[in-house]
Symmetry: C2
């Protein structure tokens, strides 16, 4: 006899089959699709997306969920799956097809306007469509509903349970502390960057990337590494996780630490429980928890001196000309140089968060109506000067640099910083729990750390929202101090204070 | 106002979006998917296939078709789309979900049994499941219905409109004529095969394959070439057509003429009318017409002396060591050697058709009940001896060599020969219609031939069934004599008679 819960699981699995198929179509489009195929591919993707929406908001799904919500016999995980699915079902039902179609058209036009504005290096070309996207986002927030701030409703898509009040609380510490820290660095001797100059053979980069990914525990039987214009991770199930990177002859850091970052995302996906396929407890918690995994491996592990030192022979072997007569210490210092940069994605671990603060403040202001899209370029440039001391020469390296707003992704940026802060906090508690974590890393043994993450985070799927998970793992909610401690220790090594 | 016909086109497009998505999942599975992903991928593919079946046989589709069938205002192409869709709808409705599921399970088990039987080189391991597959195929034929022979109903899936009576009629000429021709060849001096020995650099093979594909007119903006274990062509729409091949250092012919063959399939798909996407008139006619395109480019063009001679410099450039001091004529003769081979896919243009005859006779006998699965190995070996004069040392190179039966593809084999015969007939009429076709080929100018195929075949989609198309293009139905003339002329050059 098929139980109600089994029927529900089956329906969710069917939805996931479609949703992951959608992901395959996207992956192929980014990596292998010939250009001519794009029109029909867009149509195929839209058809699948529509079917996912229809099934997710179907009366069949609603009936199952309402019956299961009253079933007291369900286990903890079953209850959680029903409860979280109910939340998603109710949220999706709040947007009717007309609104979804209108939003999707605005986003398409806004993306085109953004591309054109970048080409012409003129913010005014983008402004009218950006205004519409923000207006529709306010409308979306109103439809979703919220208790204290409309921005809460938007963040909820990326970061369930997170509120504007809470982000404000966390970020309140960031600006003064980071500013003081940046000031300290400015008065310290700069690392010698010459070790990063020159050409790095791209084939050797690729081989080293694979070696490092293997070392961290990326499972090639359940994953791939390909080349794409913009690096990303995608998953079609826990047994098929795909990461990408790009190689440039004059930039070693981008490919190597780009791959380590994506491997972090990939290890999370590979560690999700396959038997929960299709259900919330088989899926990642949130963007911040996802980012905590990529940043932990990229920064806390991959950019540590212990990591560089243990792989130094491999680096030297891959690029014998570049690294002849150089030391692991020089390389470690150079790759960790702190220097304000106009571009978020090119920024170091410290100044990166000023970029996020700025975007968060702007998004919140636009959504609550205290800022105006027309003034955005001016506001942007003012804040960049204030936070980073830089002059913005043109909008392409300023307000037009990110794709997110043109895509209607409002409420996404804060998760980058929250994830980074979680990374340091998780690393701190992993270090407490694992005997000799540092010594393991020095021996290229990442299994204990990965095992700890698997047990405490990956294998749980979305049993808990971000901060509840953090509390369960660390015994406390998100706490900025662990990131602060981490950068003091790490950049103390780099800048010798 | 949306017309009924537009609604019908929209529904068919949605079905095609899903069906082509299914093709993307399969393509990725064959080429890039990590092994670990196979279980979930199979599930995702099954879900999509089920949705295609449900939409194709939905009452909505039925209602639209029945209303449109009575609409006298439709154009010729619109009528044809409705009529052919009705045929497919009615056929699919004849198989209920239980039967489809049972058949699909039998096929899965039979495929496993076939793999195991090949491993053990023991036909008896496969026989029980093969018996079930043939029994279910008879049941399927009964459900589909037929007027004269149950085999007609099965062929109909691959070759709409073709009948067993008509195949018998065409094939009746083949056996005696080919036997006599083979006898003639046996008494002629053999070509020197030494030019094909040695190692052919695989990178050079790949580059030459791309050069030749480009030369024939394969559009890389709307297509790709990848590597897979078994070469195939797949299409996700006319603007995204993918072919594959495999490279072996000791076998130049397999990759080069394999690619030319797949390019032939690919050119057909790239030439289908995009505005008919989702509708029969945007799809290929049948397997035989598809095969006519691959064989025409592979054999009638690609293995002609004119083709070899015009590309001889490129061959020499790609493999300078192999072809030093050799002539285009030697190469032409060697690659066209006729020699009975136990394996169908390794067979030459002449003896190939004995393989098809044998399989056709066996399939027909099993479906009508005049042969028994238990006797199949014996029958196979007997016929191979009779037609090709060869002894079958073991079933792996005999009755177990093809995947088709294990897949339940009964009625497929005849289309290989029919397609080859169509190829010679189309080429004959193209040669009559195009001024200086031979001279064009000698100048690497394939545009006139491709243009003729585009106009007369590709751009029509499935406006006509195979023989009706042939009659429209050639003024007569399928006629074996053009193939007979072609091999006499071609192998006359090879064997100098």
């Amino acid at each position: 006899m098929t139980t109600l819960y089994q029927k529900f699981h089956q329906l969710r699995s069917n939805i996931s089959d479609l949703a992951y198929t959608h992901a395959v179509l996207n992956w192929d489009m980014e990596i292998y699709m010939p250009r001519g195929g794009s029109d029909f591919r867009s149509q195929q993707i839209a058809t699948i997306a529509g079917m996912v929406h229809d099934l997710s908001t179907s009366n069949e799904m609603g009936d199952l969920l309402h019956q299961l919500a009253a079933d007291a016999s369900l286990s903890f995980i079953e209850k959680r799956n029903v409860q979280e699915s109910m939340r998603l079902y109710e949220r999706e039902r709040k947007l009717d097809n007309d609104f979804v179609k209108h939003l999707s058209q605005s986003i398409s036009q806004s993306y085109k306007a953004w591309m054109e504005a970048r080409e012409k290096n003129d913010y005014l070309v983008f402004a009218p469509m950006l205004k519409e996207v923000f207006e529709m986002s306010r409308e979306k927030a109103a439809r979703y509903g919220y208790s204290s701030h409309p921005y809460d409703a938007l963040m909820d898509e990326y970061e369930p349970g997170m509120t504007t009040t809470r982000v404000d609380e966390v970020f309140r510490e960031v600006k003064p502390q980071l500013s003081a820290f940046l000031d300290k660095i400015k008065h310290s001797p700069e690392p010698d960057m010459s070790i990063l100059n020159g050409h790095f053979d791209m084939k050797a980069q690729e081989e080293l990337c694979k070696l490092l990914a293997t070392g961290l525990g990326f499972d090639w039987n359940c994953g791939r590494l390909d080349v794409s214009e913009h690096p990303f991770t995608t998953s079609f199930n826990a047994r098929d996780v795909r990461i990408t990177t790009r190689y440039k002859e004059n930039n070693l850091l981008e490919s190597i630490w780009g791959v380590i970052h994506e491997v972090g995302h990939g290890l999370y996906e590979q560690g999700l429980p396959p038997e929960q396929y299709g259900l919330p407890c088989g899926e990642p918690v949130s963007l911040s928890i996802h980012e905590s995994q990529s940043r932990l491996w990229e920064n806390n592990v991959g950019k540590s001196f212990a990591y560089i030192e243990t792989y130094w022979e491999d680096f030297q072997h891959a690029f014998p000309e570049n690294f002849k007569g150089k030391s692991a210490k020089e390389f470690f210092k150079a790759l960790n140089k702190v220097e304000p940069n106009l571009i978020r994605t090119d920024s170091d671990e410290v100044t990166y968060h000023f970029h996020i603060l700025l975007r968060y403040e702007i998004e919140k202001g636009l959504i609550e109506g205290s800022l105006d899209v027309a003034d955005l370029e001016e506001i942007w440039n003012y804040k960049i000067k204030e936070y980073l001391g830089l002059d913005v020469p043109n909008p392409k390296v300023g307000v037009l640099q990110d794709i997110h707003w043109s895509h209607g992704s409002i409420g996404y940026f804060p998760t980058y910083s929250l994830g980074t802060f979680y990374a340091s906090q998780f690393y701190h508690y992993a270090d407490k729990a694992i005997p000799n974590l540092q010594a393991n890393i020095e021996q290229k043994n990442f299994a204990p750390l990965l095992g700890w993450l698997r047990t405490n985070i990956h294998s749980l799927g979305h049993q808990y929202d971000s901060e509840d998970l953090c509390e369960k793992v660390c015994g406390e909610k998100l706490n900025y101090k662990y990131f602060d401690e981490y950068i003091h220790k790490k950049f103390g090594q780099v800048y010798e204070f």
